[in-house]
């Protein structure tokens, strides 16, 4: 029998298949979706119990790219943990970077200058745009609309070019330092940002027009993978997926960090929590992000780019060569020998997919005693099984895509 090849005979699905026969004599089957499959956009497996095209049950297996970040973090000085956060949600790594720095600054009680805070807001919102842009355009690809993807994907490239100007890297950015940014943003960065702000809205409008009233797209997404607000809350949904279900919880509003309270923006909410609503909420959030960036640029104060914290912020290289004090600071920071209080803190930011939180326990040594990363994907992916039950196989792909499950964040 086919299922014997895929599943051990003691698996619960094997028994169900054995016992169930449809009226027309056909039997149920197993479909192994993943671990590597182009349509899953990442490495996770779902064993699906199918009746023809319809999904009866699913068993998710995750952990294929688990890299033990929490364990590694317990063995690394604080500034080296930033590179781990890059690799969680790699579609919006600057948000993760900033989240980590803000957490450490909260631990050390460092006040970051306004300019650095505003620049952080700009880069975080850029990252959010990149994140939502990928999610929505790939959702288009999964429903068979390749064009929209091609229209907007070049703008992710533009965003990456801005990252490149800021920090030199593109995907895994490792951006910023404890206390601010590593250097002042170049003129080129601001110039590229300005061009982006002019060109991107046109393309994004076009993208929206292609999809939001598109009959085929609506048929494929409306009432597909609906989740009620109550259920979404129970399953720990946060971010756009929660807001699509109708709850307006946004960390940027609830607990503003990095001066988000200075900006005016709306929190778009959906109603039914289906794939279409998730798509629309992300679309609307991109407009809000653009709005925030414009406000931040307009209000951008002059001033230092980092806090004056020589214990934690690397001195300029010239000083390191010519100045004893700076050399000592430099050495101590690089070796991770920085003063750290004994504390227990939790800090959350609004990541691309929801509340990205760091629960950090320190014991005064150079490494965290415990770092628990609250990864939004990991928590809401639990609901996937329930969301695809009773749906068609092709819907399962669309739902997965609209949830924006990022394997790196799922497994950490």
């Amino acid at each position: 029998m086919m299922s014997d090849l895929l599943l051990p005979p003691e698996h619960r699905y094997a028994k169900i298949i054995e016992q169930t026969r449809n009226d027309d004599g056909s039997e149920l089957s197993i479909l192994n979706l993943g671990p590597t499959h182009p349509a899953t956009h990442g490495i996770f497996q779902n064993i699906l119990l199918m009746d023809g095209e319809r999904i009866l049950d699913a068993e998710p297996t995750i952990g294929y790219i688990h890299r033990a970040f929490e364990k590694i973090a317990e063995n690394r000085p604080f500034y080296q943990i930033n590179v781990l956060t890059d690799r969680m949600n790699y579609c919006s790594s600057p948000i993760n970077n900033m989240a980590w720095w803000i957490t450490v600054e909260k631990l050390l009680e460092i006040e970051v200058p306004k300019r650095a805070q505003y620049l952080r807001v700009i880069v975080m919102e850029l990252a959010r745009i990149a994140d939502h842009l990928i999610c929505n355009s790939i959702l288009g690809v999964d429903t068979g609309a390749y064009t929209g993807f091609l229209y907007v994907f070049q703008f992710r490239e533009k965003i990456y070019e801005i990252y490149e100007e800021i920090c030199g890297a593109r995907l895994t950015t490792n951006m910023g330092r404890i206390g601010g940014f590593e250097r002042e943003w170049s003129d080129e960065a601001f110039k590229k940002l300005d061009t982006f702000l002019i060109d991107f809205p046109i393309a994004w409008k076009e993208f929206e027009n292609l999809f939001e009233r598109n009959r085929i797209f609506i048929d494929r997404t409306v009432d597909v993978g609906s989740i009620s607000a109550e259920k979404a809350m129970q399953y720990g949904f946060t971010g756009p997926n929660l807001r699509a279900a109708g709850i307006d919880y946004d960390v940027r509003k609830a607990q503003p960090y990095s001066s988000y309270e200075d900006f005016e923006f709306d929190v778009p909410v959906g109603k039914s929590g289906d794939t279409y609503d998730r798509f629309c909420v992300r679309n609307a959030e991109v407009w809000e992000s653009l709005n925030i960036i414009k406000q931040a640029l307009a209000k951008l104060p002059k001033g230092p780019i980092h806090a004056d914290v020589p214990d934690y912020y690397l001195p300029p290289k010239e000083d390191v060569y010519n100045n004893m004090e700076s050399l000592i600071y430099h050495f101590k920071i690089v070796m991770g020998e920085v003063p750290v209080p004994v504390a227990e803190i939790y800090h959350a930011v609004e990541g691309g997919n929801g509340e990205l939180g760091f629960y950090l326990i320190t014991d005064g040594s150079r490494t965290p005693y415990r770092l628990k990363m609250r990864r939004p994907c990991y928590i809401y992916y639990q609901a996937y099984t329930e969301m695809i039950k009773g749906g068609m196989l092709s819907d399962a792909i669309v739902i997965l895509s609209s949830l924006n499950v990022i394997a790196g964040e799922l497994d950490a």
């Binding site: 995750i62 952990g63 688990h66 033990a68 929490e70 364990k71 590694i72 317990e74 063995n75 909260k106 259920k231 809350m233 129970q234 399953y235 720990g236 709850i247 919880y249 609830a254 607990q255 504390a343 227990e344 803190i345 939790y346 959350a348 509340e355 939180g357 629960y359 326990i361 490494t367 005693y369 415990r370 628990k372 609250r374 990991y378 928590i379 809401y380 992916y381 639990q382 609901a383 497994d411 950490a412």
Partner: protein, 172 residues
């Protein structure tokens, strides 16, 4: 803030007496300790008592404290959030060696995988969990890798000489 810290504390003290202790403001989050045998009831009370309404489980973390006394070897930390009043709360509980604690996965559906993660990495057994098995590590693994005694790198590794990386046994 409409929901006062003092009120939460009073409510909890009224209901659980000596089983809830060590109330403190840990930076910006109000936190307290609960005895492990009552943790389920405490969480249920926080969630279902209408005036408290901590309806969202933000996170659940296991922690290992090998240097503590026998009764405080492991910890499970629950972070709850009341979105309406925008108040967070942290509930801690300590467990001895071979840790066991009641599941809350029926109170919060999202606790299911969080508890599996804690089981996977710390070996904390959640009584009554519907499917307590490893989640991120492979099923064949025997140890619980986030425990402090578990080395980060395979000590038998020969392709990497620690001296060349500025690391020795002592400074980790």
């Amino acid at each position: 803030m409409a929901l006062e810290i003092a009120y939460i504390q009073e409510k909890l003290n009224q209901k659980f007496g000596n089983n809830v202790l060590n109330f403190e403001m840990s930076r910006d989050i109000f936190s307290f300790e609960a005895t492990p045998n009552l943790i389920r009831e405490v969480i249920r009370f926080l969630k279902e008592e209408e005036s408290l309404n901590f309806h969202f489980l933000t996170d659940l973390a296991g922690i290992h404290f090998p240097d503590n006394d026998d009764e405080h070897q492991f910890s499970v930390v629950y972070q709850l959030h009341n979105w309406v009043e925008n108040v967070r709360i942290r509930v801690k509980t300590y467990l001895p060696e071979n840790p066991q604690i009641d599941t809350i996965s029926d109170l919060f559906l999202c606790a299911n995988w969080m508890e599996r993660e804690a089981w996977d990495f710390y070996g904390i057994k959640f009584e009554g969990h519907p499917q307590l098995k490893r989640i991120l590590n492979m099923d064949e693994m025997v140890s619980h890798p986030m425990r402090k005694e578990f080395p980060m790198e395979d000590s038998g590794r020969t392709d990497k000489d620690d001296r060349f990386f500025g690391r020795t046994q002592i400074n980790g």
